[in-house]
Amino acid sequence: MRALALGIVLSTVVLLTAGCGIERQIVDDISLVTAVGYDPAEGNKIQGTIAVPNFQAEGTVMTEIFSDTAMLMRENSAKLNTEANRPLATGKLEVILFNQELAKEGIQKLKDVFVRDPSIGSRARLAITEGPTQEVLTRQYWDNDAGMYLSDMLEQNIDRGTIPETNLHLFVYALYSKGADPYLPYLSVEDMVSIDGIALLDHDRYVGKIPYEQTYTFNSLVGDFQNATFPIHRGDKKSATVSNISSDRTIQFKGSGKNMELIIDVKQKGILREYRGGKITKKVLKNIEESMEKQMKKQAKDILKKLKELNIDPLALGNEYHSEHRNFSWKEWEKMYPELKFTPKIDVKIMEYGIRR
């Protein structure tokens, strides 16, 4: 009984002193950073730009932009904090952008702050931009905050199969993985900010990109996706557009040593969305399927050639090979990779063609 009484007294004391030592963070009193962008600056410095949404009374959102240069990332945050009226908090960070000029020098050293800080979510999206990230972030996105707009834009395009799934966790995974190289969405800034392809990285350095026209095929080589659209250009009379319901990729290694052949087998089911030619017959469908296969195959060959030339492995073929072979050494694989013979096999089946014959 006495113990209970003592317990109650002590608990009260503790509750009364509650809050001491805990840093309060009230949503209204902090600036939630939704996007950051990094550009190269003079000297060994970077220019960091952040976007903070400021919610207006009438329901619209203004984006506050802060920008400054520093050598270190956190040094930069501290400098930005001197410009802000409320403390900056990174808990809601959704988009991390890198200028391609900066990415060419490697972003390994820059990613440290994002994986060291427990408050940053693993689902934050990364992207490489063609121009200065500052320009991307200072754009007006109608009534939206820049960070949230870009995050939604990337997300819906991943769902739509325009680009493969990417986020901070997957990026770091590919960065550390011996048998894979990372890739990120590539944003271009013209009249609009748009996804203009996929940036390819050699370990952490930006080395090249897959143009927008080839993203569909690149996606099909990377893994399974759906809902994406593929245009088939066959002149004015016969051109068509197909979107896919499913896409299955299987990888097979044939032969051994120098004669190793790698077969990437892509099986797709699609819906015909548009056809210039008029009535659809069995023969027409077959024709469309065949020309789509042909065009995809050509693109696939181009992509694979490019990957080989750059000696990068965004398709994670090394991991695939590793999982199927015992007594495996990465050195051997590195020697083998540039000499691999790639054979893409594409199979397209058009299942439906809408509500018109």
């Binding site: 113990a3 805990i22 840093e23 808990g91 427990p118 979510g121 770091v172 995974y173 550390y176 999982s323």
Partner: protein, 362 residues
């Protein structure tokens, strides 16, 4: 032999399942993946199973050694006499005391790193210590009840293992068994540390009704622990790359970071808070065992030693600061535990068996 424990203070034999399981799953489960992958790489989940089997053997030894109303202190007395036996028993008690102190410090460190960097250890420590005192003061039956709750309530966290599978690379696990037996065993040794604490069994044994029936429940408890560890190991291995995993300090919390639900932006904060429920049985059972040891050796009032021990835990917690120092201490304690469980208990078992054989033949 000590005074037999009265029946009203005993617990049902099936509760041994929760007593064994809850004290095994503690703070180590949040970070063991990066240690276990060090030698056997992606094959290390096999090491988890091997470690579990070794634990089964030790549990079997414990049950073979002890008879009704006996505990480790009786065995010490018969084997080594009053003084040497007393010293050994004292060391066992101190081991449990240090184990509980380190567990609490590791948990507070997680709160400091992940949630409140500025929070004072003393403040959090006092809150916890009051709770522990309240539980241990209720006696062994309350501690066993907390072990039950501490297992059942956090069970929902098992479901969270499904979310990271969205980003799973199952080919990481292939090819299976691509490592030497030596590597597997080295990883096994790392893994055994996550099973420690179940040796409290040697102390609460007299508190079990029908201890012969409890034997199977103890094994079920270990099996359940193995199941959880293997599941978590596999999820971590398909989620992380090997090198990436070795850079992460708390891989389990990192797995929770990827979970996003419409109503929770970051799941790890819920996970860490729920973990208090997992730490509670850990702390109370080991502290109860430590104070029970003091009572058996020095015949002092257990309620008073509880206060003393809790204060020691609190002071120790405020004195140990910084990740490196905490890790170093935790390393020492793990090594201590390893030798207690996998060297000392088998030794005791063999010695005691020979002793009994010799006495019988006389």
């Amino acid at each position: 032999m000590g005074k037999p424990v009265s029946d009203t203070l005993k617990v049902s034999s099936f509760l041994v399942f929760f007593l064994v399981h809850s004290v095994q799953v503690g703070i180590g489960i949040l970070s063991f993946e990066s240690a276990v992958i060090e030698y056997a790489s992606y094959d290390a989940w096999i090491s988890v199973i091997i470690a579990g089997i070794a634990v089964h053997v030790v549990v079997w030894m414990c049950f073979k050694m002890l008879k009704q109303d006996e505990d480790i202190f009786d065995i010490h007395n018969t084997l080594f006499g009053k003084y040497a036996g007393g010293v050994l028993g004292f060391l066992i008690s101190i081991y449990f005391l240090i184990l509980s102190a380190v567990t609490l410090r590791l948990y507070i460190e997680i709160i400091q790193v992940w949630m409140f960097p500025h929070i004072s250890v003393l403040y959090l420590g006092v809150v916890f210590i009051i709770l522990f005192y309240y539980v241990i003061n209720g006696g062994f039956r309350v501690v066993a009840g907390i072990c039950f709750l501490g297992t059942v309530i956090p069970l929902y966290l098992l479901l969270t293992l499904l979310f990271p599978l969205e980003f799973a690379y199952f080919h990481n696990l292939m090819p299976v068994l691509n490592h030497s037996v030596k590597d597997l065993l080295l990883s096994t040794k790392e893994m055994t540390l996550s099973f420690l604490g179940f040796s409290t069994l040697l102390i609460y044994y007299p508190f079990i009704k029908h201890p012969e029936k409890a034997h199977k429940w103890a094994h079920f408890g270990v099996m359940f622990t193995i199941f959880i560890y293997v599941a978590l190991t596999i999820v971590a291995f398909v989620f992380y790359d090997e090198e990436q995993l070795s850079t992460v300090i708390w891989p389990t919390l990192g797995i929770w970071k990827i979970i996003e639900m419409p109503f929770v932006e970051r799941f790890e904060y819920i996970g860490i808070s729920s973990w208090a429920m997992v730490i509670l049985p850990n702390m109370t059972l080991t502290l109860w065992a430590a104070t029970r040891g003091m009572k058996r050796i020095f015949h002092v009032n257990q309620r008073k030693t509880v206060i003393v021990f809790l204060l020691i835990v609190l002071i120790a917690n405020t004195l140990i600061n910084g990740h490196e120092r905490i890790m170093k201490l935790s390393d020492y304690v793990s090594r201590m535990g390893f030798y207690t469980v996998f060297v000392y208990i088998p030794f005791l078992f063999i010695a005691y068996t020979i002793y009994q054989k010799v006495r019988k033949s006389k």
